[in-house]
Symmetry: C2
Subunit: 338 residues, 2 copies
Amino acid sequence: MLSERRLEVLRAIVQDYVGTEEPVGSKALTERHRLGVSPATVRNDMAVLEDEGYIAQPHTSAGRIPTDKGYRLFVDKLAGVKPMTAPERRAIQNFLDGAVDLDDVVGRTVRLLAQLTRQVAVVQYPSLTRSTVRHVELLSLAPARVMLVLITDTGRVEQRMVDCPAPFGEASLADLRARLNSRVAGRRFADVPQLLQDLPEAFDTEDRGTVATVLSTLLETLVEETEERLMIGGTANLTRFGHDFPLTIRPVLEALEEQVVLLKLLGEVNDSGMAVRIGHENAHEGLNSTSVVSVGYGSGGEAVAKLGVVGPTRMDYPGTMGAVRAVARYVGQILAES
Amino acid sequence: MLSERRLEVLRAIVQDYVGTEEPVGSKALTERHRLGVSPATVRNDMAVLEDEGYIAQPHTSAGRIPTDKGYRLFVDKLAGVKPMTAPERRAIQNFLDGAVDLDDVVGRTVRLLAQLTRQVAVVQYPSLTRSTVRHVELLSLAPARVMLVLITDTGRVEQRMVDCPAPFGEASLADLRARLNSRVAGRRFADVPQLLQDLPEAFDTEDRGTVATVLSTLLETLVEETEERLMIGGTANLTRFGHDFPLTIRPVLEALEEQVVLLKLLGEVNDSGMAVRIGHENAHEGLNSTSVVSVGYGSGGEAVAKLGVVGPTRMDYPGTMGAVRAVARYVGQILAES
DNA sequence: GCTGGCACTCGCGCGCGCTGAGTGCCAGGC
DNA sequence: GCCTGGCACTCAGCGCGCGCGAGTGCCAGC
């Protein structure tokens, strides 16, 4: 176990390094922080911290920089979440309040987050998994062609074309529409399959094939669209990554274009709230020199999707976490209102 | 007017520079191209080309590189469009054929284009301006709340919530729905306002307010959604931009995040087909060291949207133009089928 | 009008030594 | 036992000078 002072030294190193982007030495440390001890003592402490793997030297006789493990300790034990100031909160709220539809909410959120944190922002569209069905609509486009429109309580609309095995009359369509809605409207996606199980039996034999086709398309939509969409922004902030960044930036850009990677990235927010993934803790190789701060957000108490930012491991964790949390909270509010 | 051989020299310079990314000198030129003259002669030609502003030296006693004006001449007079090979065509078609819906088509297109050209791809969603209405659907969500769903022939779906001034019965709703569709289905967006002008008169006085509200929402949707959406991809290719690119890349990333800028970028494709914007020809400052190759695409003969790529001015114009044209053609086919 | 020859230019890479921040270690003091 | 000042050592970065070589412009001759 590290002594109190050594933890203090680690904190000071992290803070200074995040601020200056340069390896920090013992003398500079004692000058900028009131540690109450001499540089020599700090040097000893640093030697210990290095042995334990919390800090490292880029090369002999340079200052120290925190390792991933060092940042991890910093985030877990040494730093809190820096709350937003009142004006900042107001600005967030104002900015998000102007949104006119779901796309706009997500778009504004992503821009806001990128701007506040000066990093790359990633926002997942509200998920369908935990949402409920508001309405299902069926439109006859041709005798044997039906368009299925699914409207969710989060304001999302999905449509699918269905080619029917047999012509399907307007009356049957209206019947199906009514039965469908009375069964699933207001219900959760997860419950829908069960609720529709015996629906085809209510129809004439000749229509059963078509009904089954429509239903299976609906179920497919529910499942497929659970793979969420994402929006990202603030990629220009990648240029602030580091000096050597031709090599650093490329894999990050590549990773950011793969939805799957991103979804996984946000994926594992534990229920307690925020998740911070530091450097090599990220499964994806290209993101080994980045940290990800993510959090769930939702219209009620429950999280329906996630959002977060991707930045260099050398980031202002308390500030970033504060911004991410605040934005998530206000987006949740906006969604609840609409 | 430049002599035939001088044009040939310019072509050789552009080709070599695009290939090597290094200033090209007179000796190297005569070695790689069968110009039939000596380096000294080429030097004289180069001096002329430089006087005319087609090429420049990064610094005294280095080779020459083409200027924007040089590329312009190259594109206009010296180079054609390099057609895709048969296997490439097949690959494009196969890749696009797998798409399941509009989002997927656009997504695949953007990835394909980025991969083929190794540049940043931008694809505009099929526009609503020139498209036609396939169907308008009205759903009663509450006594005084109606959801309006607009389906276009390009497979796009837009929805809007309408708060009615007075409760609106199911019968009236069905009536409105039927009348609406009989008037506008299959018609062009631009014609819709006129077609609906006297529709409220067909309804009882008590319903007219609601009908008017619904109609104005529909018209708004048509106008608003004419502001198109975009998808971009291949930003990782920006890292291949140049050696000095910390400064180059940032404004480009910033520009790419502004939809407005991008739309303008694609905006001015003349009807003849492809547009190539070279360097300073781009209005947006951040894109002064990039070239944009764009083209319209559409499901019929008519263009409903645009797509293109953004790359360094030093790009393989014939190849890029070939790829852009081929992709546009196949996307058009796919859209026509669905 | 093309060519070979020639003198000149200048960016780039290399090696050098200096500087200064930073380190590890040690002996002495609280 | 822990902290401290002192000291020798290390090494990345920087500036400098130098030589190389690709490339140029010009000129006289064919």
